[in-house]
C-alpha cells in the first residue's frame, strides 16, 4: 500500500504539489488523474526518492522508499519509458535491471514474453523503438523484480487501443492477486477503463477521490444516449415529459436517467435499439474540478 501524507513540494515560489494526501490500497488499481502539469509526476518522483519533499511524507508498505533494501524487488517503477540509454537494446536494459536486483537472466525472457516483445525486437536499440514498444519495455522493467507495489507514470501513453486493453488485463490481474497499482494519466478514458479508484489532482491539489461510482454520486445530473426505430417520436415524447433532448450521432442525447427513457418508450411502444448512460458525467466532473487549472479555455465552459 502506498500512503501519501500531507505532501508538499515547492520550487521557490512555485508549489508543484500542495498538501496532497491519499492512499493506494492492495488489490486495487488506483488512477491518479489530472491535466498536464498538475503535479502527478512530481508526487510519483517523491514516492521513489528521486525528488525530496518540502514537507509531508510517502510510505510504501509502511517504509520510506530509501529504507527499502533492493527496492526493485518490492516496488516496480515506471516514470518515463524514454529515460533509458538510447544506445542499449531492450534486452540489455532489462538485463541490467535483473543483474542489479540479483535475478537470473531467465527472468528477462519471461518479462519480454509477458509484454510481447519478440526476440528480434528485444535486440533492437531503444532509439529504434516506437513509444508503444518503449512503454511495454518499461512495464517489463517495472515487473522484473516481482514487486508487490507498482508505480506507473502515464503507462498507457503511446499504446494503441489493443495495447491499452492488454495493459488493463495485466494490471487488473496483478491487483486481483493482491498487488497495489498506482497509475497516472491525463486522459480520463484510460483511467476510467483500468482504475478501481481515482484520485483527481489539479494545480497540485487533490480535488476529488473515490471510486467511479462515488465520484459520480456527487454529480446529480445524468444524461443518456438513446437510439430507437423512431427517433422523432421518441424525442417528442421525451420533450413532452420535460426532458432536454438533442440529436447526437445516430440517436438522441437526453438529460435524464436511462430508466426514464425506457419507461417512456415502453408506454408509447417505441422500439429502442440502444440505451446507455452517457459517460460524459465523469468527464464533465473531471473538467469542472480541474477547470481553473486548464491551460485551454474550453468552449462552453467559457459561456
Amino acid at each position: 500500500m502506498i500512503r501519501v501524507t500531507a505532501l508538499t513540494k515547492s520550487y521557490g515560489h512555485f508549489t508543484a504539489v500542495d498538501d496532497v494526501s491519499f492512499e493506494a490500497r492492495p488489490g486495487r488499481v488506483t488512477g491518479f488523474l489530472g491535466p498536464n502539469g498538475a503535479g502527478k509526476t512530481t508526487t510519483m518522483r517523491v514516492m521513489v526518492g528521486l525528488t525530496t519533499a518540502t514537507s509531508g511524507e510517502v510510505t510504501i508498505g509502511g517504509h520510506h522508499y530509501r529504507d527499502i533494501p533492493n527496492p526493485g524487488r518490492h516496488v516496480g517503477v515506471l516514470l518515463d519509458a524514454s529515460a533509458q540509454h538510447a544506445g542499449r537494446t531492450g534486452r540489455e536494459i532489462l538485463s541490467l535491471g535483473a543483474e542489479t536486483m540479483g535475478l537470473p537472466s531467465s527472468r528477462v525472457d519471461e518479462m519480454l514474453e509477458l509484454v510481447s516483445l519478440d526476440a528480434r525486437e528485444s535486440k533492437r536499440r531503444l532509439r529504434n523503438y516506437s513509444l508503444g514498444m518503449k512503454q511495454r519495455l518499461g512495464i517489463a522493467h517495472a515487473l522484473l523484480g516481482d514487486p508487490s507495489v507498482l508505480i506507473l507514470d502515464e503507462p498507457a501513453n503511446g499504446l494503441d487501443p489493443a495495447g491499452i486493453r492488454w495493459m488493463r488485463g495485466l494490471l487488473k490481474g496483478y491487483a486481483d492477486r493482491g498487488g497495489t497499482v498506482l497509475l497516472s494519466s491525463h486522459l480520463l478514458n484510460e483511467v476510467e477503463l483500468i482504475a478501481d479508484e481515482m484520485v483527481l489532482i489539479g494545480h497540485g491539489r487533490i480535488v476529488a477521490q473515490g471510486t467511479k461510482e462515488e465520484l459520480l454520486a456527487g454529480a446529480d445530473h445524468r444524461s443518456t444516449h438513446a437510439t430507437s426505430l423512431d427517433n422523432a417520436q421518441l424525442a417528442r415524447v421525451l420533450t413532452e415529459r420535460g426532458h432536454a433532448v438533442v440529436a447526437a450521432g445516430q440517436g438522441l442525447r437526453v438529460e435524464a436517467a436511462p430508466v426514464e427513457i425506457g419507461r417512456a418508450a415502453a408506454e408509447h411502444s417505441i422500439v429502442l435499439t440502444d440505451l446507455r448512460a452517457a459517460e460524459g458525467g465523469l468527464e464533465d466532473l473531471f473538467l469542472s474540478l480541474t477547470s481553473d487549472t486548464q491551460r485551454d479555455v474550453l468552449e462552453g465552459a467559457a459561456s
Partner: protein
Amino acid sequence: MSAIPHAAAPHAGTADLGTIDLSSSDAVPMSRLARVELRKALDTRAGRWFTIAILVLVLAVQVIYAFAAPEDALAYGDFLGVAGGVLGYFMPILIIMLVTSEASQRNGLVTFTLEPRRSRVVVAKFLAGFALAIAVMVLAALIAVVGTLIGIATGAEAQWSVDGNLLFNGFVLANVIGVLIGFAIATLLMNTPAAIVGYFVYSLILPIAVGILGSLSSGFADVAPWIEFNTAQTPLFMGDYTPTGEEWAQIATSGLIWLVLPLALGIARLMRIEFK
C-alpha cells in the same frame, strides 16, 4: 493472462495489511552494483568503441613511434611512456561518458530508483571506473610490448628494463589523476558534450594559456605550477619521472584547486541533483 508468470503474484502476507516485510531483504551488494556499472560502460556502441578506439590509437602511436623515434629512445620504458601519454588524454573521457550518461541519456532515473542510496552508486561508479582504467592500462602496457618488438625488428637494441618511477609516476599515477579529473568534471557538469568540451579546455587550452602568460611575465611563470594542475604534473612524465619536494607541493596545491575541490563539489551535486 496466463502469461503473468509469478510476476504478478505479490509476496504472500503483504496483501492483508499492505505492509512490506523487509526482514528477508538484503541490500544490493556493492560488488554487484560495481559490476553493473562496468557493464554499462561497455554495453553501448559509444562506450565499447571508444574503449577500443583508445587501444587502437595507442597501437597506432606505438607503431609510428617505433619508426620515427631515435634509436636511443626505443626501450620498453620509452614505449610505455608514450602509451601512458595517449591514455592520459582519453581515459578521462571514458570516465566522463560513464558518469554523465546517467543524466544525458537519462537512465539515471532507473539507476537511482533501483539504488536510492546515491552514495552507493557513486562508490560503484568509482570502482567500475578504476577497474576499467586498470584494464585499459594493462592492455596499453601489453601494446607497448608490441611497440618495443617492432622497434627491435627495425634494428633497435632490446631494452626491457623499466624505471620504477616512470611506471608508477608517469604511467599509473598520472592516469589515476586523469580518471579522477574525469569524475570531477563529469559530476560537476553532468552533461556529456559539455563535460568533454570542459575536459579539453582544462587539458589543452588552459596549459597553453598559462604558457603564454608565463612567457609574458616571469612572475606568472613561477606561480603557474602552483595554480595550474597540468603544468604541475609535468615532472611526473619528464626527466627522471621523479618530482622534487617542491614539485610535489605544487602538484598538491594545484590538485587541491583543480581536482579535490571540483570532485568534492561534483559529488555533492550528484548526491542532490534531480534526475529528470
